[in-house]
């Protein structure tokens, strides 16, 4: 059976302006429907890799997203197909209230204004934050803020969801809520994490990063079974 690569990266290298080599020849394939975790220590290059896929950094190598090879001509089309949940979500809100922020995603599909607000409310209901529709997202708690940001992203129905430390600042209960919500989405996902819990509960695959390289890619089951490997990574 043939598989569709939603993300294809080949020999990607990148150095930060201070000369620190963040990525040293990363090669990775993420197939449609996969939920792949990027696990590894601080400074392994996980966030840098995600920023490259979203077109926010520009290293050397091949990056293909949803069949589009990254170039100045295709970058806008690629970004339209990607949703990105930043590790510090408070910086990704654009509108002064939650409803209007979620509407930003909906309006990418250009529906009439009334339909857009109804669709945005539906997304808020799905993420159980409809009661905060008129609140400023910066006034919400960490868990609610994370859900509001995710609703804003998912309302644009991206083909690929990139998440940088999605459980950052969340307690166990809120982490479980977020994982349940993510599990209900059929989007292809690639996310960086330091939490064993997220890999075992959400990931179908896990790529391990060390010093700017992908050192191994395992299925979720392989990862769950290998206690030694989990101890090594987390």
């Amino acid at each position: 059976m043939s598989t569709i690569n939603m993300i294809h990266i080949e020999n990607l290298t990148y150095e930060y302006p201070d000369g620190y080599p963040a990525l040293r020849g990363v090669t990775l394939n993420v197939e449609k429907g996969m939920r792949m975790a990027l696990a590894g220590k601080n400074g392994a290059g996980k966030s840098t890799l995600l920023l490259h896929i979203a077109g926010l950094l520009d290293g050397e190598g091949v990056i293909e997203v949803a069949g589009l090879r990254r170039s100045p001509k295709t970058i806008a089309a690629i970004r339209n197909r990607i949703g990105f949940l930043f590790s510090q979500v408070e910086y990704q809100f654009i509108m002064p209230d939650v409803l209007n922020d979620v509407m930003l995603g909906v309006s990418k599909k250009q529906p009439p204004a009334d339909d857009a607000s109804a669709a945005a409310m539906e997304w808020l209901r799905r993420f159980d934050i409809e009661k905060y529709a008129r609140r400023n997202p910066l006034d919400l708690s960490s868990g609610e803020m994370k859900r509001a940001a995710l609703a804003g992203i998912m309302s644009g129905e991206p083909d690929i969801l990139l998440m940088d430390e999605p459980l950052n600042n969340l307690d166990r209960e809120n982490s479980q809520v977020l994982v349940n919500l993510l599990r209900d989405q059929d989007t292809t996902m690639l996310f960086s994490t330091h939490r064993d819990f997220l890999v075992t509960e959400l990931a179908t695959h896990c790529a391990v990063m060390e010093e700017g390289r992908i050192t191994m890619v395992l299925t979720g089951n392989e990862f769950k079974k290998s206690r030694a490997l989990r101890d090594l990574v987390f």
Partner: protein, 162 residues
């Protein structure tokens, strides 16, 4: 902070203009307060109503980001003040150190947020930015607030003319 930068750059080029820097700081505070006071007065509903009436998407976005940044600066301000107060005792000479750390922190936070905000903008924005309009309820208290903001601005304007 901008006034401090203006003083520092004045010092570097050997032309310190304290008076101009103070005027600059006052103008910034004035604009900041007019904008925030206005937002408080008309509420999110009124703000959205006004934004939707701006024909240019770029100008609409400019005002959205301006409002967002002001709220973020206020939030950062609270956070930085708490962080500094938790580490430094507020006595005598320490007050000068506080000012130094405050500017550093604020600047780095702003640079960090700019990087993320830019990412969010290029990834999240579509062709247009249209806002959902709520009903506008302007209550007597809103008028009082607006009147006090206007009075404050008038006083500020008078000071600038002195």
């Amino acid at each position: 902070m901008f006034a401090a930068f203006s003083l520092v750059s004045g010092y570097i080029i050997g032309d310190v203009r304290v008076h101009d820097s103070i005027i600059l700081a006052l103008k910034i505070i004035l604009i900041f307060n007019i904008f925030l006071g206005g937002m408080q007065w008309i509420g999110t509903g009124g703000y959205m109503y006004l934004l939707n009436r701006i024909p240019s998407v770029r100008v609409r976005l400019f005002f959205l980001l301006l409002g967002n940044n002001m709220l973020r600066i206020m939030r950062n301000n609270r956070e930085i003040v708490r962080q500094i107060r938790s580490r430094i005792t507020l006595t005598g000479k320490n007050r000068l150190i506080i000012a130094r750390y405050y500017f550093q922190n604020m600047l780095f936070k702003e640079l960090y947020s700019m990087q993320h905000s830019h990412g969010a903008l290029v990834l999240r924005l579509g062709e247009s930015v249209s806002c959902h309009e709520y009903e506008r309820n302007v209550r007597p208290l809103d008028f009082i607030l607006f009147a006090s903001v206007a009075g404050y601005c008038a006083a500020g304007a008078m000071m600038l003319c002195l």
